[in-house]
Symmetry: C2
Subunit: 356 residues, 2 copies
DNA sequence: CCGATCTTCCAAAGCGCTTTGGATCAGACT
DNA sequence: AGTCTGATCCAAAGCGCTTTGGAAGATCGG
């Protein structure tokens, strides 16, 4: 068999070198900006390359250099709900910008979340990527150990809540954020505050719960498991969680919601009951600043702890590229503070529950 | 310089062949399932490969075969709003499933929408992908001509509303869907129906507008440009568009909204005015069936034309892989019908405007 | 027991780049 | 004139796989 490509055809280096009566070396160097070639021939080469529409074969270059100029991302699809968390697209958009600026491309693998390790392993070992971003670390995450062992550069978005093995990560201060948010509600007189959290095993959710419980305990309140929910970031999840909680004998007067998506469901559930956030009940969200779903308004519609996930994507990519360029440097870490903004969705606790 | 990889190291084919005292040929064939090798040696090879953790170098394989086993997607970021359309992540998730099932990977390029052509060209010519998916075709789309010229397999999600050049596409019947939706509102007595559409240049938006106008004309209504809005798929866009339209002297009694995201903004704008969809005013949306933002309920919260974007991603990927496997076959096309579901967000037109 | 036919394996030639280790030549300096 | 030094350029050796075109060895009918 001929190596396929029935139609696609572009000139290769050898042919171009014959046309130009120059060696392949010179052409390669001219095009890649090496100094060993005179400016006049460089110009000549570039002109010819344009004229004949010569493009180096990426796979050959990758093999020759040992660099793939690509970064891998594994996007898990919740096997339970078939949901792909919308924060990924936003994070990936941020990271993608940085890759593009630096001549890197991005390799995506969309896999059911229970098959993630396989996907990471495949990417790492096939050497088609020079580095990886690890998304949504869990407690005692396999992937971190595996990648450390392989020795492939990687950056974790978030932190393994387990033991602090040395690895590079970028995270927001989830504990601090949710502690702050809870304190805000407490100081407004709320005592029954529900937490509509993310999936229970994720590092994010664990830290957020911790911050929430710390604030409660500081005020002498024992965290009540029945006021906490864990789940996938879906609108319906927020709707269900809030609907259920509002049907209990002693419903919460305030909600802490892990993202704007379930918060929209939460708002809908409250609207079903004729309750208006900010007047009858309070909502604080964590706002990832999704580009298509902004917490806008003046004041913003939701009181929120805010941290741009897109910026996190950008910065994670930068860190990763730095690590790739300077592998000798040890792990880098970056913890981001979270902005707290007061919006329209919070108010004082109703008097009767307040005195309770 | 050594071809980098300071840490990462896995055994290569040559070394494994020496260990096994077999030729590289035999090992390659054994691992790739060719019949010219006995079952006993195949077992031996596989066992050794596992033991020594041998993984073929992907870039070498790609160069040798001429196949990259990768599909490219170019995701545009609106340079105006910095928005990445959330339907992409859903489409890509669907396509990604199919790629994974067939041993393909996905290469993503996130670029400002005005630099798309460059990104497509780079992907196509560097031969690091075996095919491409073209997203959001515009009228007289450059990319289609370019890819046809290059001869790289591709599938367009949507159709160029310009001249019907021969190319492969998968589309939903946007015209039919919006015609149907408009007719539904007309038959409920609505006469002033607003269209909150997508970006004006996109094939989707053009076809939807066409369907909307056809239905209006069928009922003797001249389409009114002042009732149409075009914009990025953002929550705030829906909010602004509806707020503005409701402030006019003769506001619409029904809205046709291009996606659930702006529809949420629309609903918020109406809530600001104390209006309840289904009772005071009507909304019909086009529902892409986003996994994290489902139009659920019984009946669903929004009356909608529904078509799963995830399924479209899956199917587009299948079509593309078929084309790659059988390049001699001509372009394939697939037009999907759209489901129409009546939900809670529509009702009869208010009496006063009805008689108007 | 011998040629024919499978079966099983191998040596070697790519794939299209990058990079090493010179070679060549002009100009500068003794 | 002879040597040295940069400035240019080149031939050839990889990178690690796949695939071609045989070559042995085993099997078998006659």
């Amino acid at each position: 068999m001929c190596p396929q490509d029935p139609n696609v055809w572009t000139m290769n280096l050898k042919e171009l070198s014959e046309k130009l009566r120059l060696s392949q070396t010179t052409i390669s160097r001219a095009l890649n900006g090496y100094p060993e070639v005179s400016e006049t021939t460089r110009k000549r080469v570039i002109a010819a390359a344009m004229r004949y529409d010569y493009r180096p074969n990426g796979n050959a270059a990758r093999l020759a250099t040992g660099r793939s100029m690509a970064i891998g991302h594994v996007i898990p699809v919740s096997s339970e709900h078939e949901v792909v968390n919308p924060i990924f697209s936003e994070f990936v958009a941020g990271a993608g910008e940085v890759y593009a600026l630096n001549g890197y491309s991005m390799q995506l693998s969309v896999v059911p979340d229970d098959r993630q390790v396989i996907a990471y392993r495949a990417m790492a070992y096939s050497r088609v990527v020079d580095g990886l971003i690890v998304h949504v670390p869990q407690a005692h995450d396999f992937r971190i150990d595996m990648l450390n062992e392989i020795g492939l550069p990687f950056v974790v978005h978030g932190r393994d809540p387990g033991e602090p093995a040395p690895y590079s990560w970028l995270d927001v201060d989830n504990t601090g954020a949710f502690r702050r948010a809870t304190e805000y509600l407490l100081s407004a007189g709320h005592r029954r505050i529900a937490l509509i959290n993310g999936r229970e095993t994720t590092g994010f959710a664990i830290r957020r719960q911790k911050g929430y419980e710390m604030a409660l305990r500081d005020h002498g309140i024992t965290p009540d498991r029945s006021l906490m929910r864990f789940g996938e970031m879906m609108e319906t999840y927020g709707h269900e969680a809030v609907s259920e909680l509002m049907q209990t004998i002693n419903p919460p007067t305030a909600f802490l919601v892990s993202s704007i998506i379930p918060a929209i469901g939460a708002r809908r559930a409250l609207a079903d009951l004729g309750l208006e956030p900010g007047r009858d009940i309070s909502i604080v969200i964590h706002d990832d600043d999704l580009s298509y779903l902004r917490n806008t308004g003046d004041p913003p519609m939701f009181t929120a702890t805010r941290s741009s996930i897109r910026s996190a994507g950008r910065r994670s990519a930068e860190l990763l590229l730095d690590i790739i360029r300077q592998p000798q440097r040890g792990p880098v870490q970056e913890l981001w503070d979270v902005e707290f903004v007061v919006g329209q969705s919070t108010g004082p606790a109703p008097a009767e529950t307040r005195s309770q």
